[in-house]
Symmetry: none
DNA sequence: AATGAATGAGTATTCATTCAT
DNA sequence: GATGAATGAATACTCATTCAT
């Protein structure tokens, strides 16, 4: 063994991140449908062949980006739920966090593409949907809290959570570069839709 | 001259519709990314070569589907605006019309794909966005009406219209076949978010 | 219909033969392992893309060559069995027919490759073996006839037929270009092995 | 100097054998066409890079396997020739030795592949054929002996030897896994073809 | 010597578009 | 207009070989 196993592991991890980060960047730039392995190779400065050292296929790259994205988002949402804050503030944090983060629409696209494409394995699709559903739970809980605090409008909390997330995703898709719809997207505006108190003015 | 120009024109129009309708059908079935000209040819029972008598390119087909879809939707929204009804009822009509119509998510996908893909001409993209923006106007007007009637929550009407449409589109994307998120989508639920009176219960 | 369906069918058949014949030629020249679709395209003067108009995959081409080869051989063997001749003469005909026909070793290679390669579908493999086995029957019958005529040595006729064919195939493989083993291959020599009368000299 | 050159040499020899043995194993398992350097590396537990310390190229590995196989077979045949036995018994030994040894069909395949493939150097091909021809000599001698003993049928001894080996190789190829032709392969059956006495029954 | 990451040329296959009939 | 054969560029993936450590 002339090599250092630990160092190898670290450099492997680095390369993985390098490829995934650059791939996401390229997807964000060119759209998922027209990203080729070559694009990813060029962007990440890793040779085409070497990419296949780290990933079995292009789809595996997409899957992994998705998995990481959804997992990170899930963690963020869970942590936010656990904060000692009014429900509306928690949702505001989530909303602004999502809308302000660059590349979130690339993730959103990936989610929808993965669910859609005939080619992606059924296992991929069901995993994406499962993670999506799981990530709905903390938001549902926050909405329950808000309803107790009488700051969030009535209704099935799961349904409201679903609408909340769908709205944010819908807005995210509108933010695609080159699609400048001349209408504002503001966190307070979105929160307003759920805010019970505002209605009594 | 056994042929007459008018008849030719009619038959041409029929063929166009035949191709476009079937193309949309196939997109709805297979997803936009994996629809080939051959798929469209088979589905519409028009030979591959003949399709190019009616359309310059595959992209032109997509553009035309989009144009027709957005135009039809714009007309529907305008007509709904003109009805003698409370604002909330108008929005309900629009919402249920959209959510109940099969293939609307194929349209939604097309809109987002068109805006996105590098390959699609800038002209296509700007036209799509322009039509989208124009179709926002009647909804904005309905919301203004609702605010006067004190049935719709306060806020910039254009912004609210934008949220309304984005939410509906976001929900539409969730309805993709094979993406069964276990949460309900109900017209009244959506309307609830805009309903001012509900807040005072 | 501006086209002539019958003519289309004929030209299709021509192209199929053209591709298959040239493919066999190239296999005979370069060996099955190193024949690319491009080689076949160049040899048959059909564009790469167009080859896929006629065949689903490279393997399908190989399968079809094999099928035709084995079928033709089977017919030849059956017809030979039906002749009004002494058994030894029939076997001589078969032996010389096989050994004198150019490209037979390419077929032999294909048979063995098909049986072997991991990639070829199990169905392919079993079909090849099944046709091989079926083609053994007429030879077995001829050997039975010869044993009745007391011109062919004793023993299980099927086993002898199997040896006869294996020997011919083995010799065929030795005839590969560039493998000039300095030993003769003669029909009478092969027949000698089965000839009962010769032993009593 | 803790290391000693002799020990190194032994270890080098061991590694060589390790690689060659495992490579043959893999060829026998996967077929020659689909064996990659990586397969060999995994099977022999030697890293890809390290294999290139021992062999200049993949082809050199194949060449060496062949050389060793043919040399070992040549030795076996020579030793058998030298035994004090009737000719028929000697041939029986050779026949059963070949047919009973696992992996012999992998060798046979290698022989034919080497002779065949355009890629293999002409030098390789001529060496293979030369060794093949040389190995024919002892068998030719045994046949001469048998003809003197009046137990083997008449005919050019070299020609008969060639047929004998070709038959055995042909039968070997039929024994490929997954090619179960429902016909027996028996040493006595094969010997029967050469046995002069049997004919007089 | 030993490792496995890196490279890049090569391969089968797809598909929008054109063309001859 | 209508057909489907023909084209060739593009793409994902493989693999023998080299290189840095």
């Amino acid at each position: 063994m002339a090599r250092n196993a630990e160092k190898d592991q670290i450099s492997r991890e680095k390369r993985l991140n390098q490829i995934l980060d650059c791939a996401l960047e390229v997807i964000a730039l060119k759209g998922i449908g027209s990203v080729s392995i070559n694009d990813i190779a060029v962007a990440s400065k890793v040779s085409v062949g070497n990419i296949y050292h780290y990933f079995k296929s292009k789809d595996e790259i997409f899957d992994e980006i998705l998995r990481r994205g959804q997992t990170a988002y899930g963690q963020f949402v869970s942590e936010t739920e656990a904060l000692e804050l009014p429900a509306l503030d928690k949702l505001s944090l989530i909303c602004s966090g999502w809308l302000s983060t660059r590349n979130h629409w690339a993730h959103t696209l990936l989610i929808h593409s993965a669910r859609l494409s005939e080619t992606s394995l059924p296992s991929t699709r069901s995993q994406v949907t499962e993670r999506f559903t799981r990530n709905l739970v903390p938001i549902t809980n926050i909405i329950k809290q808000g309803q107790k605090e009488e700051t969030i409008i009535d209704g099935d909390p799961l349904e409201l959570a679903f609408y909340f997330v769908s709205l944010i995703q819908g807005l995210t898709l509108q933010r695609m570069p080159g699609a400048e719809v001349p209408a504002p997207i503001r966190v307070e505006g979105v929160m307003h839709l759920l805010d019970k108190r505002k209605r009594m003015d």
